[in-house]
């Protein structure tokens, strides 16, 4: 086998470093939005209002029942077309809506992970002992104060291990954004490999970069988990 590691390293790695910045930016923004979306959806699903409950339950099922890849396609290619058509039917014939690839990617990841994270929060909130709520009420807090000051902080703390897991998954799932032309790691590698035919080297380096990104995070999560255990 005639492998040219030096060449691959020297030429691919600088490009991948730029890709890492894209991955981190996308992951951090998507994850923060997903956590907020997840929390809000979880709370909406825990209200007594049947319509609100049903609406968000259906939404979560739709998102969880379709692949992330299809969702990304849909947001990037289909949603602009739909909006275009709506605008045209309203008499605006020059409409030509397009999302930036990164924005579409962030939207897709946020919605998809938001749906899963909402389930994490929902079960975490439900698992908090009713006595916590009652002791808060008995002190004179209102229901919403109890929810935000007592229940949600505890539910959030209990969710940290699972959230950490999702964060690591999301870093890896940013590779799907290659298909909507976000120049993240996979797309850069693909381009490089197809130009140089250093396929083995390129994709091995790519896998290594993903490992380097996710391993420290998993370790950090383990540490956090240990810290949280002390409180129980």
């Amino acid at each position: 086998m005639n492998l040219n590691w030096t060449d691959a390293f020297n030429n691919l790695v600088p490009s991948l470093l730029q890709g890492v910045v894209v991955v981190l930016q996308t992951t951090i923004s998507s994850f923060l939005i997903a956590v907020v979306v997840g929390l809000l959806v979880a709370i909406c699903r825990l209200t007594q209002l049947k319509i609100v409950k049903g609406f968000f339950a259906t939404l979560v099922e739709i998102v969880r029942g379709t692949p992330l890849l299809v969702q990304l396609f849909y947001i990037y290619y289909v949603v602009p077309l739909i909006l275009d058509n709506i605008l045209k039917s309203m008499g605006n014939s020059s409409a030509n809506i397009q999302f930036s690839a990164v924005a579409a990617g962030i939207a897709g990841l946020s919605i998809n992970y938001g749906a899963y994270i909402s389930e994490v929060f929902r079960s975490a909130i439900l698992s908090i002992d009713d006595g916590q709520k009652e002791s808060g009420l008995a002190l004179g807090f209102t229901y919403y104060q109890v929810l935000w000051k007592i229940i949600i902080p505890q539910a959030f703390a209990n969710s940290i291990p699972v959230l950490g897991n999702y964060l690591v998954m999301m870093i890896k799932d940013t590779s799907l954004l290659a298909i909507i032309s976000v120049s993240e790691l996979l797309l850069r590698t693909q381009t490089y490999a197809s130009q140089t035919f250093e396929t083995i080297e390129s994709y091995t380096i790519l896998a290594g970069v993903y490992l380097l990104l996710s391993l420290p995070l998993s370790q950090l999560m383990k540490l956090l988990e240990k810290k949280m255990k002390v409180l129980h």
Partner: protein
């Protein structure tokens, strides 16, 4: 004539067709200590929970300081600030240090300054004998210590009335004493309290009045002497014979 703090007027509570509290009435005077005893399932806890509206009675009325708390005109959360409650399961906030458990409600509800709230919390912790635990997390406390912190937490809102829902039932026998001692101290300080308990010795020692409940009714009430030494009702006699 002593001032009546709370007047319960024939309240009932049912879950669907299951009537768990039947036409219960009682008055509690300022400074009085009332112990409620009775077999499990007799409605004692439900009754207690009705008093701070954790359960809403399905009939009857409760008058607190000359005002109905059931006519919808009062703010329930404001009312509850006057009526502390201590639960069987402690329910401390486990993400917060002991001191923050105690200062949380006064700081956030009464807008007390941190320094003042902490100073008062330290006094309360001293009172329940746990000042040295102020900076630990609840998970490192024993059951008895947790319950004493829970009492301090309830006291921090400076309530008029304190409700205890079987405060020692979840404790190991050797830890029961330390909690009862704290409650006794409060009684001596003149705190108005209603205590649902299975500790007959405690009820006999501390209560001004003992109420025996069974099947959702108040079967009999009187001074500890009357109830424990000379119960009139057959069911009270049977209950006491079973457990004493």
């Amino acid at each position: 004539m002593e001032e009546i703090m709370m007047s319960v007027k024939s309240i009932s509570k049912s879950y669907g067709s299951n009537l768990v509290l039947k036409d219960v009435s009682m008055d509690i005077k300022k400074g009085e200590v009332v112990c409620i005893i009775g077999p499990s399932g007799s409605g004692k806890s439900t009754f207690l929970r009705c008093l701070n509206l954790l359960e809403i009675p399905t009939a009857g009325d409760i008058i607190f300081q000359d005002q109905s708390i059931l006519n919808g005109k009062i703010k329930v959360n404001k009312y509850r600030q006057n009526v502390g409650m201590v639960f069987q399961g402690y329910y401390l906030f486990n993400l917060k240090k002991v001191i923050d458990n105690i200062t949380m409600a006064p700081r956030s509800l009464n807008k007390k300054k941190k320094e003042l709230a902490e100073k008062e919390a330290c006094e309360l912790l001293d009172k329940v004998g746990l000042l040295e635990k102020k900076d630990v997390y609840p998970s490192s406390l024993s059951g008895g210590q947790k319950q004493r912190v829970a009492i301090a937490r309830a006291l921090a809102m400076d309530p008029e009335l304190l409700l205890f829902d079987e405060p020692t039932s979840a404790l190991d026998p050797e830890l029961v004493g330390e909690v009862l001692k704290v409650i006794k101290k409060l009684a001596n300080d003149g705190m108005t309290m209603i205590v649902v308990t299975h500790e007959m010795g405690f009820a006999r020692d501390v209560a001004d009045r003992v109420i025996f409940m069974e099947g959702g009714y108040i079967v009999e009430q009187g001074t500890p002497k009357e109830i424990f030494e000379n119960p009139q009702n057959l069911r009270t006699q049977e209950f006491l014979a079973r457990i004493l």
